[in-house]
Symmetry: C2
Subunit: 376 residues, 2 copies
Amino acid sequence: MSADEEKARAWAYLARVAEPPHTGMRELVEAVGPCEAAAAIRARRVPAGFDGVLGATAARSAVDTTGDLDRAAAVGARLITPDDEEWPGWQLWGLRGADTAERGGPPLVLWVRGGRSLAAEVGKSIGVVGSRSSTSYGEYVTGQLVGGIVDVGWSVVSGGAFGIDGVAHRACLGSGGSTVAVLACGIDVDYPASHASLFAAVARDGLIVSEYPPGTTAARHRFLTRNRLVAALSSAVVVVEAGRRSGAANTAAWARKLGRPLGAVPGPVTSAMSVGCNRMIADEQAALIVDSQSLISLAAPDGAGGPTDGPARRIDALTGDRQRVYEALPGRGSITVDEIAVSAGVGASAVMAALAMLEVDGYVTAVGDGWAIVRD
Amino acid sequence: MSADEEKARAWAYLARVAEPPHTGMRELVEAVGPCEAAAAIRARRVPAGFDGVLGATAARSAVDTTGDLDRAAAVGARLITPDDEEWPGWQLWGLRGADTAERGGPPLVLWVRGGRSLAAEVGKSIGVVGSRSSTSYGEYVTGQLVGGIVDVGWSVVSGGAFGIDGVAHRACLGSGGSTVAVLACGIDVDYPASHASLFAAVARDGLIVSEYPPGTTAARHRFLTRNRLVAALSSAVVVVEAGRRSGAANTAAWARKLGRPLGAVPGPVTSAMSVGCNRMIADEQAALIVDSQSLISLAAPDGAGGPTDGPARRIDALTGDRQRVYEALPGRGSITVDEIAVSAGVGASAVMAALAMLEVDGYVTAVGDGWAIVRD
């Protein structure tokens, strides 16, 4: 076995022997390297100060991980580590400060399925997340947002779940964009099962990412752990729909903790699926997002410009006497200058001056002895 | 003619002879009193410094206003002035600082239709405004908000227009509450005409208010002028729906200018009628309002408490080993402590400790040699 192979097997062992993320495990590997760390754990004898690793690995230290690399390869996946060029070190750096009690440290390794470079994919990326129980409103808005993200050449990161996540991935692929699905199970596990063909498509045109070894099943605590990676691997995060309690709110909390710009799409106050989004906006935790332009601006404030105003309604341009005179004119037919003066409360000479200006601008026209509005 | 009668007639004359509001007119009346002011304008000879009043009254100085008080009385209305007890002087005070170029000064007089005291009605009141082209969403939310406002004994101020305004008045009356309609025409003019029966009902159980003399027709500039009074007579203002350009946005701008708390109801980003509200929230001009409780809190921060959280989902209470152990249990059937230890990545003794706690709390139960989830 070559040194590289030995190292890869050590990483694979370390990736499974403790439930990730585990700060002590990461620190041990950083201190002695993966091979020595793996040997120490197997021998149940770790350097002083790393006793926590023994406890964390007690249940699984004898686990057989020799097949993990092959299982990954069988689905076109690989194991990447901080030693690899495609390791998104910059994006994951913020997690080092997170408390492990919150399952917050950086991943020890990542399993990546798909042909692209992870670091390249998440260089400019937006996390699009939301409720599993999405409504047609949320799904429509997701499609609109994702289309705009793809148009500017960014990628879309999400969690591969039912609802908004799935719509985000599909819309991205459908728009010819690149998408990254971060799973709470192994990269070879189709969870939810009905997303199997979606995951195959994501692996083909984007990437599937997980810190869990092949075959790992989804579990509640892993969803929470996974959410931090969705936030970390995104330049900004938008929550499209979220109920009162929602995993998306957890991802949003991670985005804030990691300093990622956070947006939320407002929705009807009558919709249970917009309660979380409306609340995040009300509490000023998230910026209000109405379209992809506002989302891109949030992610890259120096990039695309702000929204532009449409053409002003013609009559809005009128002020002062001109407005009052114009308003004094009847909808149909015409009236005299004196009648306008009384109705508008403007002196006759001022009325005439205003009418002259209004005529030049095409608002009014003289009709016999009186004046009438010019209809568009 | 008694002195009171003479004074009332002078006020009525002054109310019509210049298009309100007019700062010079108000200052002239404050300086010399209504009778002398009226005589001076009729004679076209005003004190030095009030020349602007001559221009503003040039077109109408010979107008006959002798019938205005009778026309008001015929519909159960009266003219009130700063001399009257029911004059809402405190609410209107902020308008003194507003630039008249913005039609912003306090009203010279108010015509009031209905049996109640205006000052009492607007002591605790919320302005509920919105688009004329309301959607069923906006109308539903308006009803919900107004119901909550009535429940705490506050009144509802609006502009009597189609759409949200009309729904607000109707919902208020329908809930047994008191409502104030501020019109952009005379208090005896049913504009819009199809709101005639609504106005009759408002006059019976609330008040109709206008600074325009009886018979004055609605005009665009009067809507803008009227909007400042809706804001001034409200303790807080909420915009339920507003398009890109909307009179409601003008009322909202007045609320901000006058220091009234301003709220807006978010809506679908796909709805043209929520564009204005979502933008006000995004620009942090308006607080996001989801229900009447958040609205009342906005208007009276020391009053009703904030929203309460519903009961937590049971499983949300679990953390650490207990959460991981619980999640390792299968949906159906049971597994052993050792199986749990491997699946959860928790040592066997810790698994047993966690199971004991979970059993006490009713989450799990022992089944033969294994453990199973207790279903609700």
